[in-house]
């Protein structure tokens, strides 16, 4: 599996991709693989404020319900409505079509403190 070079990652297995002052957030291929078949995704409301390291929603698989921790702080400006009826997309394309939320970043510079693709892959191998 390839982990996009332009994304940043957390040890909680989320990724964030930044364009301008907006960060798109999702969970990693490794996360969906550990969770198994995902059956439900609970996302925050547009307009809610999220903080780094705080849970903003959850992912439910046949095995477990896991919190999703925000890699960044800011305001949720869009959520991925595809996932309500198609949670399996998180298993199929976690780094692409199955992004979770878009967040207007409180501090875009904060993203550079997260893991890069190589460091994340070393972390999960490790």
């Amino acid at each position: 599996m390839t982990y996009p070079e332009n994304y940043r990652y957390t040890k909680e297995h989320e990724w964030v991709s930044v364009e301008g002052d907006t960060g798109t957030v999702g969970i990693t291929f490794h996360a969906q693989s550990e969770l198994g078949d995902i059956v439900y995704v609970d996302l925050p409301k547009v307009g809610s404020v999220v903080e780094t390291g705080q849970s903003f929603g959850s992912v439910e698989s046949v095995k477990a319900v896991s919190d999703i921790y925000s890699p960044v702080s800011g305001e949720v400006v869009e959520i991925n409505t595809l996932l309500a009826d198609g949670p399996e997309k998180l298993n199929e394309d976690p780094h692409g079509a199955a992004w979770l939320v878009k967040i207007k970043l409180a501090d875009p510079a904060q993203v550079s403190t997260l893991l890069d693709a190589a460091a994340y892959q070393a972390y999960i191998a490790g």
């Binding site: 078949d37 059956v39 439900y40 439910e60 046949v62 095995k63 477990a64 319900v65 949670p87 399996e88």
Partner: protein, 494 residues
């Protein structure tokens, strides 16, 4: 199709229709006498808004059809009376029949909670004696029997912590839970109004005192600790851990789900616990295969006792009474006095065993779990090297190489006539297989189980695809759990 296997439970193999399918218009299971009073229109008498509409398609069946339907279904069930039920963490021990005999004594079985106290002295004495024995076993000063089951006991316990800390002037903000905790621990803390902070376990699956020391401050109300923990390992640093928490004014809550590994050998009250619950339906062997009812007795040290749920038992002039004058109590947590029938069985179990008997049960539970661990360790990867207590936890890393995971092995175990072990919990173990035999299994049954597990380990090597599609010898082959969760069908339609 695979070959016939060693131990197979014979099934009554016909399929069973739903009651809706058995229904025939006009059939009933009752017969009422002719109406001998004037007929009244319900809508006129009560108002149309208060009258329920007829239920469409309600099954119409005779009594014998209902009895046969459910009796046939009951033969499809698997329970502890059929064989080993190795569901880790659930403590599916045999339920001795003496407990049932005692619970059916007419004065107990037919007791009503609204009977006057003067007619309830025996029932109240039973509760008082049980509180006393549990206090002894826990090493705690006082016990409440009200909570209906384990998670309810947790909630009661953390509410006691909150009430105590509030009385000290500050309820505090956080509850700590190790990452191996039962999911009910963080859920309890949240419902009680606390933030949850999760602590990472060390390489032995235990709480790391250094990690704990860094996390504890004056915001921490309590830590919720399961001991032995969910990987079946005794938290050997528990005294030091309790000391770290107490030094900052935090309380030690013990989840007593695994108390059956300690009874008669070690007392939580002696190793620093302030409050704990015990699942009487696990440790004290009351039936819980059908989901309950349970009982989640909570024991506390004296500083928490004023906050216990009321009413409390009190003896005045040789008579038991209910004391409602408890100004600091968190209030009632359960209607009446808990699940009384469960309490009677738990006391029967304790008294039938006596102290030495309970200790022997504990030691035998550990022996059985370690016997299974020793027999299976060459075939399955043990999760942690630390000694196992009453259950052993393996991970599926060896079998994963062939593509078979813990869930597949569990399904294949059904073909061998056993209920599966606990699958994929605790979550800190990769592909967990959590096995708890309890003390009540004869060696022959443990061996039959181990033989089945070893046979499956070999099947995973020789024909992994067969294991991945198990079960093969059951009435229903593997069900599609993913579709069932994603697109649940919750209602039968013709």
């Amino acid at each position: 199709m695979p070959k016939p296997l060693g131990k197979i439970r014979p099934h009554f193999t016909q399929n069973e229709q739903l009651l809706f399918e058995l229904s025939r218009p006009g059939k009933t299971g009752y017969q009422l006498p002719e109406l001998d009073v004037p007929d009244v229109d319900a809508a006129e008498a009560l108002g149309a808004g208060n009258v329920r509409e007829a239920i469409e398609d309600f099954p119409e069946v005779s009594e014998v059809e209902v009895i046969r339907h459910f009796t046939r279904l009951s033969t499809w069930n698997y329970g502890i009376d059929l064989g080993l039920f190795p569901l880790g963490s659930c403590t599916m021990k045999y339920n001795p029949r003496i407990n049932e005999a005692v619970a059916r004594i007419a004065g107990l079985a037919w007791a009503h909670p609204y009977q006057p106290e003067s007619l309830s002295q025996g029932a109240m004495e039973i509760m008082a004696v049980l509180e006393h024995h549990l206090g002894d076993i826990f090493g705690m000063d006082e016990v409440t029997l009200q909570p209906a089951a384990g998670a309810h006991g947790e909630y009661t316990g953390i509410m006691l912590v909150r009430a105590y800390l509030e009385s000290q002037g500050n309820p505090r903000k956080k509850v700590l839970c190790p990452d191996s905790a039962h999911g009910t621990n963080p859920a309890t803390a949240m419902i009680a109004g606390y933030q949850v902070e999760t602590l990472k376990s060390n390489g032995q699956g235990m709480i790391d005192p250094a990690v704990l020391a860094a996390a504890v401050n004056e915001d921490v109300a309590a830590m919720m600790i399961t001991n032995p923990n969910t990987v079946g390992v005794f938290e050997e640093n528990i005294v030091q851990i309790a000391g770290i928490l107490h030094a900052k004014g935090a309380q030690v809550y013990m989840d007593g789900a695994n108390l059956n590994a300690l009874v008669g050998v070690a007392r939580p009250g002696d190793f620093g616990v302030d409050v704990l619950h015990s699942n009487l339906h696990k440790t004290f062997s009351t039936p819980h295969g059908g989901g309950g009812p349970g009982a989640g007795a909570v024991g506390v040290k004296s500083h928490l006792a004023p906050f216990l749920p009321g009413p409390r038992l009190k003896k005045t002039d040789g008579q038991w009474t209910w004391n409602h004058d408890l100004p600091q109590s968190i209030g009632r947590v359960r209607a009446y006095y808990g699940n009384f029938g469960v309490l009677v069985r738990a006391l029967a179990y304790i008294m039938a065993h006596g102290g030495p008997g309970l200790k022997t049960a504990t030691i035998d539970a550990l022996l059985n779990a370690n016997y299974i661990r020793a027999r299976l360790k060459d075939y399955f990867q043990i999760a942690y090297d630390a000694p196992s207590m009453h259950e052993c936890v393996f991970e599926d890393t060896k079998q994963e190489k062939q593509g078979a995971r813990t869930g597949d092995i569990a399904k294949r175990l059904i073909d061998y006539g056993f209920h599966p072990y606990t699958v994929s919990f605790p979550m800190i173990v990769h592909g967990a297989m959590m096995i708890e035999p309890t003390e009540t299994e004869p060696k022959a049954e443990l061996d039959a189980f181990c033989d089945a597990m070893i046979a499956i380990a070999k099947e995973v090597e020789a024909e992994p695809e067969m294991v991945k599609h198990a079960p093969h010898l059951t009435r229903t082959s593997r069900v599609d759990e993913v579709s069932a969760a994603r697109k649940p069908v919750v209602r039968w339609k013709p």
